[in-house]
């Protein structure tokens, strides 16, 4: 295991949009305590309305905790100067590919974040080029966003974030509105960003995507319910169902096999290992 340092820290975070009108037991997020280390790949799962998108927006100061504190590196999201630095460190890709593109051409859109940070023009040009290479949109510089596919738009949004060179990239259900091909493209980019040493936080309601990550956090009923390595999920299928989450096929298969008396005892971390074990089981009988 590489040496990790704590990057994002939520301590005693409570949040609600209208804290004065709601009972505290009904707040959108309740008592979240969490540390995310530099270089981690975390999936945050939860059913609709569980507060997971709200959680994402606490990470870069789009929302500020009603109680408690969110710290990123040395800064707190609770003060203005801290937020400006945090936006530089924590990039965010949203759900709707159309509604996060600001400029009229691909090149201008990648530049948008850099312009906000006050990056000089000479430095902007190579950074834009590098970002478009990263997401595979070279040659699209002068295209209008309306002429891109959903997956391409989402890759453009990633390029815009990548150009700002953040330490953390939060994907807020960024794959949910894409077709299977676009989804695959975005997932591969996430993996690559993680391999480069960036911290990737992926908010999703698809349990299937949980296995792409190393660590899974489940938020349900406005609270943090589970925080474990993704390979431990295999033993938690009943819990997933209880929170209204779709259970991925390998996990369901394992549970159903168990009911039939087929015990796969070795720990399973992904579907390949599952296949291996079934083969081994079959060859034994």
């Amino acid at each position: 295991m590489k040496h990790l340092k704590s990057l994002i820290e939520l301590s005693g975070v409570w949040f609600d949009y209208h804290p004065d009108r709601q009972m505290k037991e009904q707040w959108a997020l309740q008592d979240i305590n969490l540390t995310i280390q530099s270089g981690e790949y975390v999936v945050v799962m939860g059913p609709n309305g569980s507060g997971k998108s709200t959680f994402a927006r606490l990470l870069n100061g789009l929302f500020i905790p009603t109680e408690g504190e969110v710290r990123v590196g040395d800064f707190s999201t609770s003060n203005d100067l801290g937020r400006f630095h945090i936006r530089r460190k924590v990039g965010m890709v949203f759900q709707n590919p159309d509604n996060q593109i600001v400029a009229t051409t691909v090149r201008d859109d990648v530049a948008f974040g850099l312009e906000n940070l006050g990056v000089p023009r000479e430095e902007m040009i190579p950074r834009i080029k590098r970002s478009l290479e990263e997401v595979g949109l070279v040659g699209f510089e002068n295209r209008e966003p309306a002429h891109l596919s959903g997956g391409q738009k989402q890759r453009l949004a990633i390029a815009g974030v990548f150009a700002m060179n953040p330490e953390v990239i939060v994907f807020d259900e960024s794959t949910s509105m894409l077709d299977p091909q676009g989804r695959q493209e975005v997932r591969e980019l996430m993996k690559e960003l993680h391999q480069q040493g960036r911290t990737v936080i992926h908010i999703t309601h698809s349990a299937q995507e949980a296995f792409l990550a190393e660590r899974v956090i489940v938020i349900a009923h406005h609270r943090l319910q589970l925080d474990c390595p993704s390979r431990d999920l295999y033993n938690q299928s009943n819990l997933l169902e209880r929170w209204g989450l779709e259970v991925p096929l390998p996990i369901r298969l394992r549970a159903l096999l168990k009911e039939r008396g087929v015990e796969l005892n070795e720990p399973i971390g992904n579907s390949d290992e599952m296949v291996d074990q079934i083969w081994r089981y079959l060859s034994k009988t």
Partner: protein
């Protein structure tokens, strides 16, 4: 689909396309004023000739200029008729028991028609050769002195460019909503004008609601990318005055001088 809305710009390459948008804006603005100073055959011929050079240099098909004239043809016909009927001075050219046409009437009608045509040619030259985003940049730069009087120049330009960005998106969405309403039995084609306009209400309301949602999403996305307004921002797009732009301004000075000399 988009060509319908993103009005007029013709994306080809020409000397006029490559000029700085600010130079073009100033040139056309001054030219539109200059047109009102022309008052005789020589000066109008000069301006028509300049306009013709512009059309040739833009490499835009003359047919498109003719098509843009369609917008003002009724205005031209109406004012021509108005002057022919109501101007009553000079020699009588043509007389019938109900209508008398005077020489001055013909002169006035001709002047007004040519003025309209010239205004349209120069305005079209600007719109055909300058992309909307260049136009926005140019306006932002030209208006920037107004910042001293607290006019929100940056916000104004940002608003324009976001509007341009979302026109195709909203257009596609309108299309989608119309289809969805048709599938539910909405009828957009029959009935009188009032009924047809009313049929579009179920299109406009969902469109408006989704626009508000988009606006909110976009504002959040802009904030997440560190947007805090115009202060401290740098720009990728830079405008630079080249020798061609200076040439354009010099050419205007020559035309203006010639015109005032012709006026006497």
């Amino acid at each position: 689909m988009n060509s319908v809305v993103i009005g007029q710009y013709i994306p080809i390459d020409s000397w006029l396309h490559r000029l700085d948008p600010r130079a073009k804006c100033i040139y056309v603005f001054c030219m539109l004023i200059l047109i009102f100073f022309a008052n005789n055959v020589e000066s109008y011929t000069l301006l028509l000739f300049v306009g013709l050079i512009g059309v040739v240099l833009s490499r835009v098909s003359p047919l498109l200029f003719l098509r843009s004239m369609k917008l003002i043809i009724w205005m031209i016909l109406f004012t021509t008729l108005f002057h022919l009927i109501f101007t009553q001075s000079g020699k009588i050219v043509f007389q019938t028991p109900i209508l008398t046409i005077y020489e001055e009437g013909i002169r006035q009608a001709a002047i007004i028609s040519v003025r309209f045509i010239l205004l349209m040619v120069f305005a079209s030259l600007l719109m055909f050769t300058t992309s909307p985003i260049d136009l926005t940049d140019g306006l932002e730069s030209l208006l920037s002195p107004l910042r001293r009087w607290k006019f929100p120049v940056h916000e104004f330009a940002m608003m324009m460019s976001i509007a341009l960005r979302f026109i195709p998106t909203l257009w596609a969405e309108t299309d989608k909503i119309i289809k969805a309403q048709k599938a539910r039995g909405a009828d957009f084609e029959s009935g009188n004008l009032y009924r047809r306009v009313k049929a579009y209400i179920p299109v406009l309301i969902p469109l408006m609601i989704s626009s508000f949602r988009r606006a909110e999403d976009l504002a959040t996305a802009m904030e997440a990318r560190g947007y805090v307004g115009g202060v401290g921002r740098t720009k990728l797009r830079i405008l630079s005055i080249s020798r061609s732009d200076i040439l354009l301004i010099v050419s205007f000075a020559i035309v203006a001088t010639a015109l005032f000399w012709m006026r006497r």
